[in-house]
Amino acid sequence: MGKVKITAGVVSQTCIATDIYSLILKAGEIVSQAVAGQFVSVYSKDGSRMLPRPISLCGIDKEAGTLRLVYRIAGKGTNEFSKLQAGDTVDILGPLGNGFMKESGKAILIGGGIGIPPMLQLAKELDCEKSIVLGYRDELFLNEEFEPYGSVYLSSEDGMHGTKGNVIDAIKACAVTGDIIYACGPTPMLRGIKQYAAEQNIRCEISLEEKMACGVGACLACVCQTKNVDEHSKVHNARICADGPVFYAEEVEL
């Protein structure tokens, strides 16, 4: 069936931490095709904002036909979304991008800040032994929901939760090991993980972010620099929306 733009019904929305919201949407056509690591583009109702906001899938419930988005209020668009209530509607486009490439072997899932949500769906989909490393600035969210899926390790900048420092500090402190890393989070964190994975010789998939317009690979807004000349661009640019957002860490420059 492919990508569609639909008007999704809001099933519920809750504030799960300061400025962080969990939104459940009825989105049948999109749900049936979606996998962990993909995202949807969410549209503003306010006509002054033309561009959709890309938000990762934190949950995909095929039976209920619902998607779960967990996002932080970062500006006007996400602020608008935070006002949505059960019974409202919101336009979304999806499913966009490619999910994580699920590999065999012991997995380390790493989420930092607002990069944590997509790891939850991945944790559910991955059928293997998992260590889950979650990095926070201070306030925790979603961490308890990871418990059923693996051993959860926390880090926080203020040291209030788990290892003081970042996710790599936690990995080192807790001697977390594995065969493949899946990570999502701010670029500096991903840069650190890429380097750590290279040092440790662990395969590593990372999910990237960039400003997007089309979300479907047409406008070339959202490129990242790749090590090799890629097939689509013929220059060292891959489209995060269409060729990613998940890439093998060694294939992209951060």
Binding site: G47, A218, C219, K234, V235, A242
Partner: protein, 303 residues
């Protein structure tokens, strides 16, 4: 829904309806073909293509603006070879006209691409003269009448398809540019390209787009585009493809009433991937409701 004539003739090429897409907003049609039956479009206009692959600008390449957006993609493209090998065969499968948008850093670049396309079965060429001009000293061909005249002539000499010159709105007098293109032998005009803008991130105190300046597009610029289409339609005889902020049927009709023979949907695709076909249907409905048999009766009828 087909008692009315929606077909228009642009420089000898018959489009089944007056709807195309604005270059750079629709890739080469592939990506949006998941949403839109390309057979429904009068023409598909491709992303700008150069003689060799261009890497484009560093990111962030875009920013949202009030009622629109700005972009400095920097004309990233895979080069004419890949384009001919990969994108043209894809487009050839559809019953729609193919317009190839051409960019270059020097006159020779443009000629190179146009020559390479001469023996392909594309339908029209659109010259993006707002590309960074390196050889002639950095100013775009689109901002000096003499330079525009010159490049139009040069391209026309080698082109085997009708040539559309795409005008930049960043000029004092758009009719002067239109006349230069007409004098140079252009077969049609398209307008407008983006208006140069800038956005500053006040939190980080830096430019929102890495390139500092970027081209503003979307509904915000529509009234400026309508004005320019009107002025040009009343200054030259060439058919005009009108674009700039078209998002609804009304927006498209405004352009046509102002003098455009066809229209292109750009930024609106990002907001609504179905915009093109919705507009095609909307125009047909308008014709029927207003008992107008032929879209051509509307072109430039507001004077």
């Amino acid at each position: 829904m087909s008692k009315v004539n929606m077909a228009v003739n642009i420089a000898g090429v018959e489009w089944k309806n007056p709807i195309t897409v604005a270059s750079g907003t629709f890739g080469s049609g592939m990506e949006y073909s998941e949403f839109v039956d390309l057979n429904r479009l009068g023409a598909v206009t491709t992303k700008g293509v150069a003689n060799v692959p261009w890497p484009g600008n560093p990111t962030p390449r875009i920013a949202e603006t009030y009622g629109g957006m700005m972009n400095a993609i920097g004309l990233q493209n895979p080069g004419i070879d890949t384009f001919i090998k990969r994108d043209l065969p894809f487009l050839a499968k559809y019953d729609t006209k193919v317009i190839v948008n051409v960019c270059g850093k020097s006159k020779e670049d443009y000629i190179d691409v146009v020559e390479r396309l001469a023996d392909t079965d594309i339908d029209m060429l659109e010259m993006n003269v707002s590309c960074p001009n390196v050889k002639e000293g950095g100013i775009a061909f689109g901002q000096k009448p003499e330079a525009l005249y010159d490049i139009t002539q040069a391209v026309k000499k080698v082109a085997k398809q009708p040539v559309i010159m795409k005008l930049s709105p960043n000029v004092t007098d758009i009719t002067e540019m239109a006349r230069a293109a007409e004098a140079g032998g252009a077969d049609a005009l398209s307008l407008i390209n983006t208006l140069t803008g800038m956005k500053i991130d006040v939190k980080r105190r830096t430019f929102a787009v890495k390139n500092k300046t970027a081209g503003v597009s979307g509904p915000a610029i529509h009234p400026i585009a309508v004005r320019m289409v009107f002025q040009v339609a009343n200054a030259v005889k060439l058919p005009i493809i009108g674009m700039g902020g078209i998002a609804t049927t009304e927006d498209a009709l405004e352009m046509i009433l102002a003098g455009a023979s066809a229209i292109a949907v750009g930024t609106a695709n990002f907001n609504n991937p179905y915009a093109t076909v919705e507009i095609a249907d909307g125009i047909e409905k308008y014709l029927i409701e207003n008992q107008i048999d032929d879209i051509n009766e509307l072109i430039g009828c507001v004077k």
